[in-house]
């Protein structure tokens, strides 16, 4: 996913700080165009995007419409997976009003916190991030002074401070889970990055703006105990070259083995995640 390095020799490779500056400039420009999370749009906007594009994409977008009806875009700043997850999950809590679910996740958060401390993180480096997320969880539940409606939730998720803090919290949780289960994650990490588990966490999980991968999603889903579905919109056409069904992968933590459709559904296009809304939810959400 990160096509860094390439074939450029050491000499013509720009300095790291130059690359970083360039990177920041691109993202800053991007930020002008889109909020951290956009508005809910019908899936037809996606079809319009590929009108003149690749026929495989076109066919797949059409197929996508069978199971999903809406999309909410996330800003492509390298944190899109986490921002999408944040909004999608909080929206799920807001709609289901499931207090038991919040308590369950909070228990998992408590475990992640312990894991972080055991791994040597100083509490003050992550406690602010943690408490911001717990605040958001609590205010997604109804009947509290701080309770929010969907518009307020959107506003909060567009607030740089809240959004960045929650993203950072997810990055901590993800990193802790990967390091805690280093043996499990190691083969995957070596497969994609040729780094040690520790290095991977330091270089590709914890820093803001580092894109997420299968490894991140697995770890976050397991750590919080929240199932995630990722729908893949790409040019793969199956073994016979004709299959334009849209593949998806469900990340189901062991404690949630009975779940049918995960509460969080994300659309993946190479390098980017957005939020998808399933047809199943269509009726309720339109009420």
């Amino acid at each position: 996913m990160n096509s860094e390095g390439g074939g450029a020799s050491e000499e013509d490779r720009p300095r790291d700080d130059e690359i970083l500056a360039f990177h920041h400039a691109i993202r800053a420009a991007d930020a002008e165009k889109l909020e951290f999370v956009g508005d809910k749009e019908p899936l037809t906007v996606l079809a319009a995007e590929y009108e003149a594009g690749n026929p495989v994409f076109k066919a797949k977008v059409e197929n996508l419409g069978q199971s999903y009806f809406a999309i909410r875009r996330a800003r492509g700043d390298g944190n899109c997976f986490f921002r999408s997850f944040m909004f999608s999950y909080l929206e799920h809590i807001l709609e289901t009003k499931n207090e038991a679910e919040v308590r369950r996740v909070e228990k998992n958060i408590e475990q992640s916190k312990r894991a972080l401390i055991e791994l040597g993180y100083q509490e003050f480096t992550f406690e602010d991030f943690l408490s911001i997320f717990v605040e958001q969880l609590e205010s997604a539940l109804p009947g509290r002074e701080t309770s929010v409606d969907i518009d307020q939730l959107v506003q909060r998720c567009r607030d740089r401070y809240i959004s960045d803090y929650v993203v950072m919290f997810f990055r901590f949780v993800t990193s802790a889970e990967i390091r805690k289960r280093a043996e499990f994650f190691e083969p995957f990490i070596i497969g994609i990055s040729n780094m040690s588990v520790q290095q991977f966490c330091k270089a590709s999980v914890e820093p803001m703006g580092e894109e997420s991968d299968h490894v991140h999603i697995t770890a976050l889903s397991d750590a919080l105990g929240v199932p995630i579905r990722v729908v893949y919109l790409d040019r793969s056409v199956g073994a016979d070259g004709k299959n334009t069904d849209v593949n998806h992968h469900d990340f189901i933590p062991s404690e949630c083995s009975g779940v049918d459709i995960p509460p969080v559904v994300l659309l993946y296009r190479p390098g980017h995640y957005d939020i998808l809304y399933t047809r199943k939810d269509e009726g309720r959400q339109n009420e």
Binding site: D17, L20, Q122, F124, F126, Y161, K202
Partner: protein, 401 residues
Amino acid sequence: MAEEKYNMRNPAVKRILQEVREMQNNASEDFMSLPLQDNIFEWQFAIRGPQDTEFEGGIYHGRIQLPPEYPFRPPAFMLLTPNGRFQTQTKICLSISQHHPEHWQPSWSVRTALVALIAFLPTKPDGALGSLDYTSEERRALAIKSRAAAPKFGTTERQQLIDEIHEYMLKKAPPVPEMAKEEQVQEDPSEVADPAAPTSVPVSPAVATEAQEEASATGRDREENLVVENVHELRVNANAGPIAVSFSAGFRVRAPAPVQGSAAREQPAAIGVAPPRADASRGLVARLGLNDDFGLTVLAIGLTIAIIALLIKKYLALAPSISGTGLNFCFSVFFCVTSCVQFLEFSSPDFSEVSHEMALPKYIYLWFTVEVLAGPTNQHAEESTLESSAFRTLRNTFYTN
């Protein structure tokens, strides 16, 4: 910290205040860092040069600027103390490696960054921006120099913080003995090359100034570890003959009018400096609570002579022909004083320069010492109190002159 001054909704403020608290609660010997009172986004720090490197013993000050987006954006570090590794007042590039850029991460803190900075000191600059590649000798010299005084920078308030941090670091970072010695050799080889007699009193002005510098740098603090540090320095210098005396001059600066208690604590150090001849005087030094150079030296000489006088007296007392105690005593005192003065004047040319203004107190003092020693031993306790108060008076007279 004035928390009400800041918008606690600003997450950076909350985080920074937490870091301040953490820094204060878990103080390190390797570094110290605190924000300015009126702006917690501006910090001052000092790091200790890492052990077994040419930076060892050095105390390097610098400033930290935290961005409003902290901890999402990295703090900027600048050194203020010349160190030979990083340019001063230039932002330090902590991601030196071209191949594995270490992005700043919110899980880092001022503490981790300072630890990293210490670790970076002995690394090769490899032409990184803001780096310097001085020789080990130059760096070592800068390390030693860095202890003498904190850099001057910024407002009075900032300067005060810098000075506080410097004092704290001096307490935590004892110099390396080898280095201190090397310094001596480099700066004034003749001093060491000429091992003067231990009884010589002269205080070479150059060395004395240096000693005072050292003393004022060490601060006026009388804490336990400071005393240990003094012993440290002094032991080194005791090897260098005349410097031994000059370094006790440092003590005088530190404790101009020692209270009995604190003086007693510093005695081990004082004894450490005393030339071998003074060994016999240890008991008295301890009882008197003496710790200044002049007193010590005179005392050493005086007591040596007093002991001789005592022996003579004993000898005379044994001789039945001259048994009149008064006459006997006067004789011995006179003998002792004159021989002492002669001895002092002969042994040290410099001494005669100062001996005129000091003549009276010196005579009285010698007399007093001899009388006490010659007196019956059962009056010991009373006499020692008497003597120490008398000595204080004497010394005051001397210093006010």
